[in-house]
Structures are given as structure tokens and as C-alpha cells.
């Protein structure tokens, strides 16, 4: 006996029965069983009821809308990769430039003896301020590179 409710393949048997794709002996057996078993008859009816769930046609502009979305996404990806490509060499360049400025400042800074430093703290401060101002000016040159 094939009872759909008690068979592991129930859903597939039901589909095969209604589509008439089961082999002849099985079709005959299931036909007899469905006439006797109200549960299985109910399942067969449900399958037929579900056929009534029609679907609307896909709207004509579907593909055009999809391709437009793809084009927008491609453009966005292309733009962001361009940005990455443009900025990739700038960061190391900026670092190298900053290091070069630091080296130049260090090399050109006047060597002040400790005693002199102690004797004229104002003069030393003035030199430091100049150096800082120079460094700031140099750093300003780098600013556009970082933006």
C-alpha cells in the first residue's frame, strides 16, 4: 500500500502521480489508494488548488532597469578603484618628503654648545621658533598631497 502520509517520498510521489510520470503499476496502486484514503485525496486536491496561484508577466522594462543598475555599480567600482590607484603612491611619497624635511632641518640646524644654550636661552628659543616656523612652512607644502 502506498499512503502518501506515511511515505518518506510522499511529496515526490504526489507530484509524480499528478504529473502522470510514475510507472504504470505505481500509478494504478496510488489511484486505488487515493480513492480510499481521504488524507491522500486531500493532498492531491491541494496540489491542484496550488495550480490556481497564477503569476503576472515580468514587466517589459525589467532587463533595462537591471542593466542600468549594473552600469551604475560598474561606474562606482571603477571610480573607487581609480581613487585607490591615484592615492596609493601619494602616501609613501608624503612620508618620504616628511623624512627628507626632517633630515634637512637636522643637518642645517646650528650646533649650539650646552654652555651657550644655558647662557642665552632667549636666543636658543628664537632659533627653535624659526626652525619650527620653517618646518611648518615645509609641512604646508605637503598638505595638498594628503587631501
Amino acid at each position: 500500500m502506498i499512503c502518501l502520509s506515511k511515505n518518506e517520498q510522499g511529496a515526490d510521489l504526489l507530484a509524480g502521480y499528478l504529473a502522470k510520470t510514475l510507472d504504470a503499476p505505481r500509478m494504478a496502486e496510488l489511484t486505488r489508494h487515493i480513492q480510499e484514503c481521504s488524507d491522500c485525496r486531500g493532498l492531491a486536491t491541494v496540489w491542484e488548488r496550488l495550480d490556481e496561484f497564477a503569476v503576472p508577466e515580468v514587466t517589459p522594462g525589467f532587463d533595462a532597469r537591471l542593466y542600468a543598475r549594473i552600469a551604475r555599480e560598474e561606474a562606482r567600482i571603477s571610480l573607487s578603484s581609480w581613487r585607490r590607484w591615484l592615492w596609493r603612491p601619494v602616501a609613501p611619497l608624503a612620508a618620504v618628503a616628511a623624512a627628507a624635511v626632517a633630515v634637512v632641518l637636522y643637518v642645517h640646524s646650528p650646533a649650539i654648545p650646552d654652555a651657550a644654550k644655558q647662557a642665552s636661552p632667549t636666543q636658543s628659543n628664537g632659533a627653535d621658533i624659526e626652525q619650527v616656523a620653517q618646518a611648518v612652512d615645509d609641512m604646508d607644502l605637503l598638505v595638498p598631497l594628503d587631501r
Binding site: 507530484a15 493532498l43 486536491t45 496561484f53 525589467f62 532587463d63
Partner: protein, 195 residues
Amino acid sequence: MEAVVALERDAQLMLRVREGDDTSFGLLLERHRGPVVHFLYRMVQNQAVSEELAQEVFLRVYRSRETYEPTAKFTTWLFRIATHVALNSIRDRKKEKGHESLSESNDEMLGGLERQVADRQPTIEQEMVHEVKLREVRQAIEALPAKQRAAVLMHKYEGLDYAQIAGVLSCSESAIKSLLFRAYEALRDRLAHMA
């Protein structure tokens, strides 16, 4: 055999898309646009939303072209994306609006759909009876838990076998068999009065 040939063709097309052949993407779209939109329509029961979600599905397919590997059937992979997108949408819509607005929009488009589907000229009474039956079927499907709903729709309307549905829903085949049967039994109980 036909299914195997179809699989090979789809996978080959997708591999061509991976190599930059957009014409192959167009062919895949042509072959699967209808089934994907119809599956999503039955899942969310709203035409505008189903088409929007289908666009998202094909966009994800296109995005994934460079990493695509034909390890599973193309349709399994495609319906996995579609199911994922649909389940997310159902979850989000439940949070946002609840069911009332969805039912309203269903009712609004029901008339149009009826007119589109019916070729003959039924009487007003026949049309009303059919409309009521259709609404009951839709509501019975909508009342299923989302995973059961997806399984039924793939099994009943899209012709996916147990193995494919199991692949889509990341379950074992035996789990899918019992899930599907529970779903059909629930539908039978809800629609028993229509017999």
C-alpha cells in the same frame, strides 16, 4: 538528462560571464528571469517588490562572476541567492509594516492579475468565486513558515528536486522531505473546505 544538459549550459554560460562575456549574462537572464521573478512573487506576493528583489538576485550573480565556481548546479546557486534575498525581505517587511499593507497591495493587484490571466470571459459570479479561491490559496501559502513556503514553491512550481532544495536551504535531503510533507499537510488542512 535534459536537466544535466541545462546545468552544463548554465555553468558554461556563467564561466563565460566570468571571462567578461556579457552576452552570456544576457542569455542566463533570459533563461532564468521568469522562474526567479515568479518564485519571488509567490514568496512576497507583491509584483513590484518581487521584481526589485529579482534585480538584486541578478545583480549579485553578476557581482559574483569573478569568483564563480561551478561546484553546485547553477539553479541551486541561483535559488539560494533568491531565497536568501526573499527571506531577508520578508523579515524586514514584517518588522517595518506588518501584514496589513502587504495584503492591501495584494488585493489591489489581484484584479489586474485576474484580468491578465483569464483569456475567456467568465461571468461576474465565476470571477468572484475564482478570486476567493485564489486569495485563499495565497493566504494559505503566506501563512506557511518562510522556509516551508520557499521549499513548497521550489518543489511545486520550479521543479527543483529534493537534493537541490536541500542545497538551497542548507538542509539534509531527509529534512527537506519531512519539511515539504509537513507543508503540504498544513496546506491541505487550511484548504480542506475547498475540496
